[in-house]
Symmetry: D2
Subunit: 370 residues, 4 copies
Amino acid sequence: MGNTFGRLFSITTFGESHGKALGAVVDGCPAGLEIAEKAIQYQLDRRKPGQSKITTNRSEADTVQILSGVYEGRSLGTSIGMLIANQDARSASYKDMRDLYRPGHADYTYDARYGFRDWRGGGRASARETAARVAAGAIAGILIKELARIECLAWVEQIHKIKSDIELESVDATGVESNIVRCPDQTAAEKMIEAITQAKQKGNSLGGKIRFRIDNCPPGLGSPVFDKLTAEMAGGLMSIPATRSVAFGLGEAAIEMTGEEHNDPFVMDEQQRISTETNNAGGMLGGISNGQPIYGTVCFKPTATILRTQKSVSRQGENIEFKARGRHDPCVLPRAVPIVEAMLNLVLADHMLQFAIATTGRLKQIFEKG
Amino acid sequence: MGNTFGRLFSITTFGESHGKALGAVVDGCPAGLEIAEKAIQYQLDRRKPGQSKITTNRSEADTVQILSGVYEGRSLGTSIGMLIANQDARSASYKDMRDLYRPGHADYTYDARYGFRDWRGGGRASARETAARVAAGAIAGILIKELARIECLAWVEQIHKIKSDIELESVDATGVESNIVRCPDQTAAEKMIEAITQAKQKGNSLGGKIRFRIDNCPPGLGSPVFDKLTAEMAGGLMSIPATRSVAFGLGEAAIEMTGEEHNDPFVMDEQQRISTETNNAGGMLGGISNGQPIYGTVCFKPTATILRTQKSVSRQGENIEFKARGRHDPCVLPRAVPIVEAMLNLVLADHMLQFAIATTGRLKQIFEKG
Amino acid sequence: MGNTFGRLFSITTFGESHGKALGAVVDGCPAGLEIAEKAIQYQLDRRKPGQSKITTNRSEADTVQILSGVYEGRSLGTSIGMLIANQDARSASYKDMRDLYRPGHADYTYDARYGFRDWRGGGRASARETAARVAAGAIAGILIKELARIECLAWVEQIHKIKSDIELESVDATGVESNIVRCPDQTAAEKMIEAITQAKQKGNSLGGKIRFRIDNCPPGLGSPVFDKLTAEMAGGLMSIPATRSVAFGLGEAAIEMTGEEHNDPFVMDEQQRISTETNNAGGMLGGISNGQPIYGTVCFKPTATILRTQKSVSRQGENIEFKARGRHDPCVLPRAVPIVEAMLNLVLADHMLQFAIATTGRLKQIFEKG
Amino acid sequence: MGNTFGRLFSITTFGESHGKALGAVVDGCPAGLEIAEKAIQYQLDRRKPGQSKITTNRSEADTVQILSGVYEGRSLGTSIGMLIANQDARSASYKDMRDLYRPGHADYTYDARYGFRDWRGGGRASARETAARVAAGAIAGILIKELARIECLAWVEQIHKIKSDIELESVDATGVESNIVRCPDQTAAEKMIEAITQAKQKGNSLGGKIRFRIDNCPPGLGSPVFDKLTAEMAGGLMSIPATRSVAFGLGEAAIEMTGEEHNDPFVMDEQQRISTETNNAGGMLGGISNGQPIYGTVCFKPTATILRTQKSVSRQGENIEFKARGRHDPCVLPRAVPIVEAMLNLVLADHMLQFAIATTGRLKQIFEKG
């Protein structure tokens, strides 16, 4: 239980960090969608380890193999199986730690839940599982772009105390990919890279904040009262390892405004579409998209693995000290950018399908043609 | 779609603000649980309108009727149907606004999604639907208390710019209920009540922050990788009307710490149980409870309804000005406290059931006895 | 768990035989559907007790109340709550039997599952719960008729050893409703009524077979590999109380044919549509509708309640003899006809929505218009 | 959609007949279960093609690879990924048939649903997909045996017009596996093998009936009102390719009995457990297991592929004649035996988990120990 995400467009994933392979099964992808393996690979490359000097040294090609559900480049409508082999696992580094609980990690909680665990590289609790999400999210991304030109863009806004300063609307994919920390503010990016490099040298780690923006989302997506777009995005984003908070629109800053200040007046735009003068709400009202850009943030804690002596306890209940070994990211943010996008893509793909069947009128279009 | 919450312990709700009634069906509540109608009513009373001078004037008894699933005071294991009648709807106030889109409300997005809407009192988008959640959440609360003495406690931490100052651990239910704004810091509470009163007089509205704490949650709750306790709570909380952000543990503040500062060292406590020296993580690691108190926050925007002239557009696409009528809360926070608790109760009940079946060992206890 | 049926168009029901009320919540009904309360009531009237001399004497009006989700006669897209009050429960008749297990009934199995039960009138295990299904199924029936003129028709084919003889294609609703046993073969119907009347006089009971036919189902409905139309219909039908078997097309008779005999050759029909020369398959291939009439059968055991002395055991584990009291149907078939139709309607409504989102092409029709 | 089966113990499968591989992801398998790869392989070997002279000539080793979720021979509680490679696909034989619709097959219905299809070997509609079910069902089988010694046994009861004659209670696994048609009545088995051999020589095909029996199922399994054990088994079994009917207990024969004849009187057995004198009900009452052996039947139509000239239509809508090529089973029954067992295992595993959480009392056993 817990390895499936989504209702209509759904993914089921599997795989441990040092097991044979990771995988994802996408179910509910409508037939006839052109799916290029290289488009999936591109997203996996953005997430893969060893991509730069500020990420972990683990070296994985993360090559995706599509095993089913795609024929002659198009989705069949049946379930899409994808596989990513593990190739550079070095479990020996973890052997000393198999009987202790690393602080900030899920070692203890997995034991509490399941009675035992795969200690090699963190097992299923490793962020390595997110490769499967990124592969599946890439397909969702193709779908939502194909159907309505929706695009999800995420970037690093803050690392530790270094904040970037850039207009929400001005960010584009090129800017995000122009440096290894994925912060479109080049000045801040340099400082972030330096900070992460120093943390790495000290065996310490840093956290940060990712911001995202979704363009071209049509109005009407989101299923009240529980599966609101806000709720589903929050759930999906908070399922990413190391997340601590999710916010939409102005987030916490909305608190200090009055209703009069925060409400976005509706106004007809130049194309005579219903629009809003401001977008404090972040593109969603009542948990349903309103046609304005959706935006928000996700915060990530500093990586739990640090290469410094820490206090902890053993499985046997003794107080101990230990120093971790193993390769790790001194800061997860640069690699988390495509993961955030993947989760947003998945939520949106699911909700485009939910939207399609929400009125009798839309359904009639289909059945009268059929 | 979208009206069911939870997988094993699930609720399905229905009802519009000015319709005949609201209702909830609880499915998956284990048999044999003692359920007193008055325990449910107590929670509904905490949420009901008209409870104080800083809430809406709408007067609803919100009396719950249990229609099924409980026999001689105990749950039957079958679905529990509950009904709450609407008695004081005054739809006339909304008639003038039926063909325009109120800023900050879901009028436009419901139209975009469904093609038409019940404009009376906001229809299904009204926060009135949360009465059904509170009724169902009360049953979940009884279950988790019965099984493991778990208790969820929420309170108002901030209203607009007024922040309370109180130790997380020191808050208790009596403190929360000791004033009408449900802030356990009495000094701050007075200021908050004053601020809300003034906003009401001005026809304006305020937002704020709720903090929650969960005691006695056993370690091991949460279903990775998607149905982590963090993810499910975030999704559940963000489905409450007017929410803008959810955070666990130190939330955004975790960003500015290093891994060494943020990690909570494990330590054996006095009862020789595994504990942590600090609790920056807020009681969850890898999205699974670790036995420490769970805590976090939820922010709410200022109420969308204000009694001031606002700009907007009509359904027909004309730019207009209007001034809202109708009764409303100048600040939703005091009544949102039991709603936050209800959603947390629901997530925990669901995850207690998920935990029970997560190991062969636990299942053997049941089948060997049987 | 177990009180929800359907994935996209779903129903959640509640209610015990002698409790306050029965209810159904329909979620996923697309907005804008015209729903007349009387159309629902008509189906409930066909199912209600006391409708003729061969049904139970319990007298229930089974008046449906729509509590939400419908506004000005049209579905809102939000959840539809419906209520049917219990008015003529006579629990006293069951009091003597509260501590024994009636043969053929679910008394013992409910106790084994839940530890205790509502013994009044069979509680949740009573076929009275199907009133909620019929109400919900009526809405599904309106939807599938509106979208594609699909109609589900069921009738009694056999009671005990009395078989009817009538062409599958010739049956229509008028024929089915023309007598109280709902068998369109009038000669057989008379014998059936006589047989049921005699069984009633003797305090005994009879079973039988219902046949159904679905007209105008478009090709392409059914979600392989697990949610095939066959599988979903079988599951739905077998969830009706007292069912013993479900068959499609020729059913068991298909066994004694060779592949050459059983295969239905495809052929172009007069409107140049793909059709089949024969319809041995019963309108479904690979679990997906092929555009031909769908047909099959459901068998029901003789009613478990008989008014004769029977052997059994008490809750305390003593061998006993007893004679049941309480009102009951000597044969469930006449009232099961609308229940079978309701379950088929529900499956079809769900699968029409699933079909609508199964190709990118169909989705484009919606999003390009939007 | 449609590729997941089960709620708590669930499987998601993927794979086309001539694609790269088939796979299954098992989610919800409780941690700590000893899972030997060879136990899974044994079941796959019983299903694999080319196993005898009366099955298809396609030669597949169907070697299972466990990719995740099992560590040091025990389930981790996380999702279990399994892979079975396709090795002997010969797609050329299907090329001529890519633009026509084979009678009795799902070619046309897949096209109607998805707009195009993988025509190679039947694609996803091929019964080859059931290999993934058998692998997953083997794990379910280990679980239910471990928890309560439940065993599901299926066998061939009838092929075409050849009926076996054997006592339900006397059948065991050795008897079933003692001949290649898997019929424990050796005399009938010989005739069946002969009949299938002849049908094969003539390019024709045969259908038949499988009977199953489930031993040691504890009372109380099944979730009314929709997820009854009967309903779930019926749905699961009817999702197997080529099925036409499912029956429990006496099945259709129950019709011709009166209630007095059909009801199974309860009686205390020698161990002072509640039992029944007869077992006409087939071990389930009200859709819940009653502790008696569960039994029933599934009928399969004759294989759709025949090597004879048949009439059909092309994708372009022309009436044509064709003669199929490609390897196939002249009768699916012998290989369907482990598939039937797999589906029953899956339903039972799911329902053991559902049972475990159905009472507060059972849950207390777990949380009080914890």
